[in-house]
């Protein structure tokens, strides 16, 4: 979370300025996080809570994977695509990850342009972010249908432990819902930017709040990628 204004004069050999800033913030009246928008404070706390949801999912998945009696299907074979008879492991997931990470980049730029009051560029970048997000969801739908076609079900699959399919659909599905929700939020905020809503209220925080959520969703994907696909 945003640090408050750190007390400027640091005495040599004294308590580090960052620590003193922390203490000043927490012993202040009115606001603990100086000049932090209420919405921004709230989204941070929400993301902390959401982290616990995803952690619960992932930890459950990991303990399950460690304890199942049948072998766990090998992700690099399951998630491979063949081009000209040559299977390339994890290629689709790699592209999906790349798309999502790029969307974090466009989002960060949108926030920047928002605070510079550049209405059009901000809206455009947010639209680009939303499009990248939608691409991600589309590719995920493709992956789901491919696996379903190959016989993966929540209750079983041709290669081993039934929990593979169950965890896969549940975790990527829950994350996919987050991304889809994020796309809708981005579009709504982009529209408001475009129409000059924040220009009039003089406050572009909504762009940043949407951005924080979006970065979070991307970050979660990195963990899913690492724990589900790379393990």
């Amino acid at each position: 979370m945003e640090q408050g204004q750190v007390a400027a004069e640091a005495e040599p050999g004294g308590v580090p300025a960052a620590l003193r800033g922390f203490a000043t913030d927490w012993s202040a009246d009115q606001e603990t996080f100086r000049h932090v928008h209420w919405g921004k404070a709230m989204i941070w706390i929400f993301l902390l809570s959401d982290t616990f949801i995803f952690s619960s999912f992932l930890v459950s998945y990991m303990t399950m994977r460690a304890s199942v009696t049948q072998p766990w299907p090998n992700p690099s074979e399951v998630f491979a695509l063949s081009f000209g008879g040559q299977p390339i492991p994890l290629i689709l997931i790699a592209i999906m990850t790349f798309v999502l990470i790029s969307s974090s980049g466009t989002m960060a730029m949108a926030v920047n342009f928002g605070y510079r009051r550049n209405r059009k560029v901000t809206a455009g970048l947010m639209l680009a972010t939303a499009l990248l997000g939608a691409t991600f969801v589309g590719m995920q739908a493709f992956e789901w249908s491919k696996l379903i076609h190959e016989g993966v079900r929540p209750w079983g699959n041709p290669w081993g432990a039934a929990q593979f399919g169950a965890c896969f659909f549940m975790i990527t599905g829950f994350h996919g819902l987050h991304v889809s929700g994020g796309v809708i939020i981005l579009l709504v905020v982009a529209l408001k930017v475009w129409r000059g809503h924040y220009e009039r209220s003089g406050d572009y925080s909504a762009v940043e709040i949407a951005g924080l959520y979006w970065h979070f969703v991307d970050l979660v994907w990195v963990f899913i990628f690492a724990f589900f696909y790379l393990w």
């Binding site: 606001e31 603990t32 996080f33 928008h37 616990f52 929990q163």
Partner: protein, 579 residues
């Protein structure tokens, strides 16, 4: 900064009656909506408990209580009491009412989200009650809802009831999240001038920390609910191992029942403190006000709340000593459990030291606060038994456990809630309740609670199991158990009936009660210094109060009165808040 705390514009000013009292965004109205709904479902759960008691005292005498629905009553009673009554009432009710008033804010930071929180809560209650009418009735898996049993044939409500319960809990989590985000952000970012965190009354501290805990603990329940639903309808095997049921091998394989227990108790134990911490905070304030003495060791009390909150995320598996988990876990969790006893004991000593040589006024709220000290110390002591693995193993799943947790998380918070309602009623309604009825209600409830729950420890030690429809002719169960069961039921009937005194008093006083003084107890915290009683929309008139001191300046030597309001400037005379 788009919004500043002193800005009146963002407040929503409804004109119509419906906008004011139904789709209200005012934290005080939302608090009352929460409280009334929670108390309503609580009465239902109380009725269920009395039905169970009838069965336990007179087994087999009542046609409408069969083994199946006994389990359903147990489950609904437990779940409603813990989640839909206590959590909703303490956080949604008291949290909503007290936070903005005690920290000098006009409202919660997101009134609209706050309103949604209530309506989602109501929806979760509706879904819960709809679960009573689905085919097969509500789930009878116990409030812990352990699979595989909850979703297998043979358990009441295994097909529909469990789904309704899980859906209702998931909606409740959403509702709580919306409320909790508001409570936490409001405390962090919307305090008035001079209100530092270390000047907040303990009530706010308790509710604040409990809200944070809720935001971190409910996710585990949410995830467990989703996974159970999939196991039940999508054929997954998250929690269900290979099972042969009634001669058939079920389609499940490889799931882990213990995983559910871990998820459930990762929520379930912090939940105990989500209920307890607001009660701790409120009781600290009641004791200080009515003993006319500053709270002993305020800083220590705050830190104890924080430390208890943090530690309670590391003790969950003390509910699982007999689950078959790795025994070394038992060692770890027994140790962490006993460590929590330290900050808790600090709180108890500080309450007692606050009373020490205080100028104690035995007003009804104070009676309830002192009663809480009894029941809480009592429940804490029996908790020491259950926290140790080797002592817990024989006591686990007996009525000793029932006696223990009713004392510590049933009776104790309920006593605080009664005390708090009596304490703040004059502010909330502007009227005073009837003193004699309130005293009568107190004594019957307090003594009755002991009459109900103390014998449960005894029969539990003799080995009477919990969740049993009837004991039948069991050799090791002596006649005294049957006498005790009869006695408990009679006491429960009396306590049950005595609650009518409370409701009668509250409702009649609403119309006929004497007009209340704006600050009848001479309390120093901000909510008593509002210009209007009950506080108007926006709470503070034109300007927010400024805070100069902590909330516990009672009997200060040399002061004009025996309390100094938080908004009185140092050296200044009493400066009533300008309206």
């Amino acid at each position: 900064m788009a919004t500043i705390a002193d800005d009146l514009r963002p407040l929503h000013h409804p004109k119509s009656w419906v906008g004011k009292y139904v789709w209200s965004q005012d934290h005080k109205i939302i608090a009352i909506q929460y409280a009334v709904t929670a108390i309503g479902v609580g009465i239902f759960a109380l009725v269920l408990s009395f039905i169970m008691r009838l069965q336990l005292a007179l087994p087999g005498q009542f046609q409408f209580i069969q083994p199946d629905n006994y389990l359903q009553f147990v489950t609904m009673h437990g779940m409603i009491m813990v989640v839909y009554l206590l959590t909703a009432l303490l956080l949604g009710g008291f949290g909503n009412y007290l936070i903005p008033l005690m920290i000098g804010a006009r409202d919660m930071v997101f009134p609209f989200v706050n309103m949604l929180s209530y309506w989602f809560y109501l929806l979760s209650v509706i879904v819960l009650f709809a679960g009573l009418f689905v085919p097969g009735g509500p789930t009878g898996g116990g409030w812990t809802l352990y699979p595989p049993q909850t979703i297998l044939e043979g358990t009441p409500g295994a097909s529909w009831g469990i789904l309704m319960m899980m859906a209702s809990l998931a909606i409740f989590v959403v509702a709580f999240t919306m409320g909790g985000l508001n409570y936490v952000t409001t405390v962090l970012q919307a305090r008035t001038k001079g209100m530092t965190l270390m000047r907040m009354p303990c009530s706010v501290w308790g509710i604040f920390v409990a809200s944070i805990m809720g935001l971190l603990a409910f996710p585990a329940l949410f995830v467990a609910a989703i996974m159970t639903v999939f196991d039940s309808i999508a054929g997954t095997s998250f929690f269900v191992p290979t099972i042969v049921s009634m001669g058939k091998t079920l389609g499940h394989a490889g799931g882990s029942p213990i995983l559910f227990q871990h998820l459930f108790w990762f929520f379930g134990h912090p939940e105990v403190y989500i209920v307890a911490l607001p009660a701790f905070g409120i009781v600290s304030d009641l004791i200080s006000v009515h003993a006319r003495k500053n709270l002993f060791g305020y800083r220590m009390m705050v830190w104890a709340i924080i430390i208890i909150g943090a530690l309670s995320f590391f003790v969950w598996a003390h509910h699982m000593y007999v689950s078959g988990m790795n025994p070394y876990f038992g060692f770890f969790f027994a140790t962490s459990t006993l460590i929590i006893a330290i900050p808790t004991a600090i709180k108890v000593y500080n309450w007692l030291l606050t009373l020490w040589r205080g100028n104690i006024h035995f007003h009804v709220p104070m009676l309830f606060a002192i009663a809480f000290l009894f029941t809480f110390i009592h429940g804490g002591l029996s908790g020491l038994f259950l926290g140790n693995v080797s002592v817990d193993v024989p006591l686990s799943d007996t009525f000793f456990v029932i006696g223990h947790f009713h004392m510590v998380m049933g009776v104790s918070p309920v006593l605080v809630i009664f005390g708090a309602i009596y304490h703040w009623y004059p502010k909330i309604t502007g009227r005073m309740w009837d003193e004699r009825l309130a005293r009568l209600h107190f004594w019957i409830t307090f003594i009755g609670a002991y009459a109900i729950f103390l014998p449960m420890h005894y029969i539990g030690m003799l080995g009477v199991p919990r969740r049993y429809y009837a004991l039948g002719e069991t050799v090791f169960i002596p006649q005294s158990v049957h006498y005790a069961n009869m006695g408990i039921t009679i006491a429960a009937g009396i306590v049950f009936a005595a609650q009518a005194l409370f409701f009668y008093n509250m409702i009649v006083s609403l119309f006929r009660g004497a007009k209340a003084d704006p600050n009848p107890w001479g309390a120093a915290s901000l909510e008593w210094q509002t210009a209007e009683t009950p506080p108007g929309h926006g709470n503070w008139g034109a300007t927010l109060p400024t805070v100069y001191r902590w909330a516990y300046d009672y009997s200060v030597p040399g002061a004009a009165r025996d309390f100094i309001p938080q908004n009185e400037a140092p050296g200044g005379t009493a400066e009533p808040h300008p309206s």
